[in-house]
């Protein structure tokens, strides 16, 4: 998105980069100008790269099962499923490590794809479910559900989390796009910060009333995959699957939306439909991810940029690549968190914030983000 925003500026001032006026259709021309095709130019390279990334993800997932406070060998993992005896090793593998790794993959994919959708629909390079207050909305709703309705299982509060995420997203987006000149990255980010602060105040008002809720809350709010177990992961799966499929279906319309509202409309895109679909997908993905693992920041903002650098701005490639790269990043962060302060653990949300915030700052310092 950074490139595309810069491109709008270039349009306005008509100074930089002469337009390649070729016989190609306008959409292709715009795409080509918008930061180029990325490192992997051809479809073959992108497909091969995606397969390689998937293989890498499988390797990292394996490592995530093996590495931790207790280290396991491949045979032990095999035995835990082939010759289950109920030993401690079997239990840890089957009920802690494997669900945790699966949760990492699901949450990562959800956050990465949600990030692409937010950045695509708002045409905002700094779009991220966390920064836009969606996580804070889901968090407040989940705390409400736990504290007032006694919800315990994921299924009990995931509905609340959806509603919270949706409401926060609506308010932030509405506020960010009101005013004489419409939306801008800074306005959206500020609106997100304000809403997050407001929801954070309310959340702390609730958890401060009750020590037990606070005790649960403080371990959840850091963003951790530890809480995911063999019951919550299967419960989250259908929501995430629907969200992911919806997102992939939106790839082509999102490419058109990237051209600007007017052009998209004249090309026959029903903008409201694309926006509503994206919003629904983002709420499903980010809401479920937050309900499963707590608020995890910066994955949603960083991964789309990395993917864009690799495969360019075409959402048909961007979405699957983000869905693979984000879990890769999240699992690596989780493993790092398990290893660096052994025997303690650094929660994955802390690790992603410590890696992600510098990345975000780098992004802000780059000249390409318009108006910075």
């Amino acid at each position: 998105m950074a490139d595309r925003t810069a491109e709008h500026t270039a349009d306005r001032h008509a100074t930089t980069r002469p337009e390649p006026r070729s016989a190609r259709p306008p959409a292709r021309t715009r795409t080509a100008r918008a930061g180029g095709p990325g490192l992997l130019g051809s479809s073959a390279a992108r497909s091969l790269g995606l397969v390689a990334a998937l293989a890498l993800l499988a390797g990292v997932a394996m490592a995530s099962v093996l590495i931790g406070y207790q280290r396991f060998t491949l045979e032990e993992v095999q035995l835990a499923y082939a010759g289950y005896t109920g030993s401690d090793t079997d239990l840890v593998i089957r009920h802690l490590r494997v669900p945790r790794t699966l949760a990492g993959i699901l949450v990562g994919a959800a956050l990465g794809v949600a990030g692409v959708l937010v950045q695509g629909v708002t045409r905002n390079p700094l779009g991220d479910p966390g920064l836009l207050g969606i996580n804070a909305g889901a968090a407040l709703a989940a705390v409400l559900a736990i504290s007032f309705f006694g919800a315990t299982a994921l299924l009990g509060y995931v509905g609340f989390a959806f509603v919270g995420a949706a409401l926060a997203a609506c308010v932030v987006h509405t506020v960010g796009s009101l005013g004489p000149d419409g939306s801008s990255p800074v306005k959206l980010a500020l609106a997100g910060a304000a809403i997050s602060a407001l929801l954070g105040s309310l959340t702390s008002a609730i958890v401060l009333q009750d020590r037990a809720t606070l005790d649960e809350y403080r371990f959840w709010v850091v963003g951790s995959l530890v809480g995911a177990d063999s019951t919550s992961v299967p419960q989250a799966l259908p929501f995430l699957a629907v969200g992911l499929v919806l997102a992939l279906a939106l790839a082509r319309p999102l490419n058109v939306v990237a051209l600007g509202d007017d052009l998209a409309r004249s090309l026959g895109t029903r903008l409201w439909l694309v926006r509503a679909g994206s919003a629904l997908a983002v709420v499903l993905l980010a809401g479920t991810a937050t309900a499963l693992a707590g608020p995890i920041g910066f994955v949603g903002v960083a991964v789309p940029h990395i993917a864009r650098a690799l495969v360019g701005p075409d959402h048909r490639w961007l979405l699957p690549w983000s869905a693979v790269l984000a879990p890769l990043l999240l699992l690596v962060a989780d493993i790092v968190g398990r290893v660096v302060v052994r025997p303690e653990e650094l929660q994955v949300g802390i690790v992603t914030a410590l890696i992600g915030a510098p990345f975000f700052i780098l992004l802000v310092r780059r000249r390409k983000v318009a108006g910075l």
């Binding site: 960010g176 005013g179 419409g182 500020l190 602060a197 105040s201 929660q347």
Partner: protein, 370 residues
């Protein structure tokens, strides 16, 4: 201040020695001069400051009277004057007065901090709690609470170190041939998120009792504030507020843009650095005694700006407005919810965030207020 001839706005003023009316600044502005020193006074700003101060004082007296043990204003005045009965004197002077004074001081400090920062960043939507200065203070203070238990003094020093370090970091990270307001905001949001993660981690490492104490502190609370807190915030104000007022003059030049300010003889980079650190130190001291009380730093200068119809915010009325806001919010937090008391930060958060959203909705693309 020492070379008044360089002041562009002084060009049209009258002879030195007597208060004159400036043709450049409009009839409401007076310039007081004495030898090499000059003071520009904008009458409505001073008047507004006086009115808001009076309101804050009235609110303080009301706050002293209300609570679990309600009493009349006359009893409060008698207790303050030293001839009330022992019980009311104890409640008013020993229990409620330190808290009310802390509230006033914290509000004033936060408002001055926010006012400086908003003008520095050319962006009325910037405040220490949004760009991460308060978050720096919070993280450091929680570290102190979790590691050492934390007395008032150690928490205050921790907060000061944390927020000034964060301000330095922010300045360096946002610096790129000058510091642009928008870059400062976005870098600040990232730094806030990172510090928030560290704070959350510290909370998970603590005993639940300590975590609860830290959590209340993080939300911003004035409960059980005592005379050491009052002394801390008042000394901070006594030292830093004059610095802030002195720095506010170059601030007027900076609003013309960094290049113009430099051309007019203002060392822009230096003034900006000094401003950022004064603002950070004020926010730090307020945070140190009361925790990060949300949105006051942002909202108080904005209200004043609106009341003055868009003129550059005077720091004096902003400070009075901040004091009034925190006093009102604390009274609500203390008395409006029956038996259980809310931290004051929850109240200011609930009241302040909608106002920020309203400002945002009216602002233009770069996030500057309309």
């Amino acid at each position: 201040m020492s070379r008044p001839t360089q002041k562009p706005d002084a060009a049209g003023t009258e002879a030195t020695g007597t208060p004159g009316t400036s043709t450049v600044l409009g009839t409401a502005t007076r310039v007081l001069r004495s030898g090499p020193l000059s003071l520009r006074v904008y009458a409505p700003s001073v008047l507004l400051g006086a009115v808001l101060s009076a309101l804050a004082a009235g609110m303080a007296v009301l706050s002293l009277a209300l609570g679990d043990f309600p009493m009349g204003v006359d009893q409060v005045v008698a207790a303050l004057a030293g001839h009330g009965d022992p019980l009311t004197t104890h409640v008013v002077v020993d229990l409620r007065l330190p808290r009310v004074l802390t509230a006033l001081g914290v509000g004033a400090a936060l408002a001055i901090s926010g006012g400086l920062l908003q003008r520095l960043a050319h962006n009325p939507l910037v405040s220490p709690d949004i760009i991460g200065v308060s978050a720096g203070a919070t993280t450091a203070a929680v570290l102190v609470i979790v590691l050492f238990g934390g007395s008032a003094v150690t928490i205050a020093s921790g907060a000061l170190v944390g927020s000034v370090t964060t301000a330095l970091l922010l300045y360096l990270l946002a610096y790129r041939r000058g510091v642009s307001g928008q870059r400062l905001v976005l870098v600040g949001i990232a730094v806030t998120a990172m510090l928030g993660a560290v704070t959350s981690y510290l909370l998970t490492r603590a005993e639940i009792g300590t975590a609860q104490r830290a959590m209340i502190w993080i939300t911003g609370s004035l409960a059980n504030r005592d005379w050491p807190h009052v002394a801390t915030i008042l000394i901070a104000l006594a030292v830093l507020a004059p610095v802030a007022f002195a720095l506010a003059r170059p601030l007027g030049l900076l609003q013309l843009g960094e290049d113009t300010a430099t051309a007019l003889g203002n060392r822009a980079v230096l003034s900006r650095g000094a401003l950022l650190f004064t603002s950070a130190a004020l926010a730090a001291m307020a945070t140190a005694v009361a925790g990060p009380v949300a949105f006051v730093a942002l909202v108080a200068p904005q209200i004043v700006r609106r009341l003055l119809r868009g003129r550059a915010v005077g720091l004096f009325p902003a400070a009075a407005c901040g004091a009034l806001l925190v006093a009102v919010a604390d009274l609500i937090a203390r008395t409006a919810f029956g038996g259980s008391e809310l931290p004051v930060g929850v109240v200011t958060g609930i009241l302040g965030a909608p106002y920020l959203l309203y400002l945002l909705a009216r602002s233009n693309r770069s996030g500057r207020g309309g």
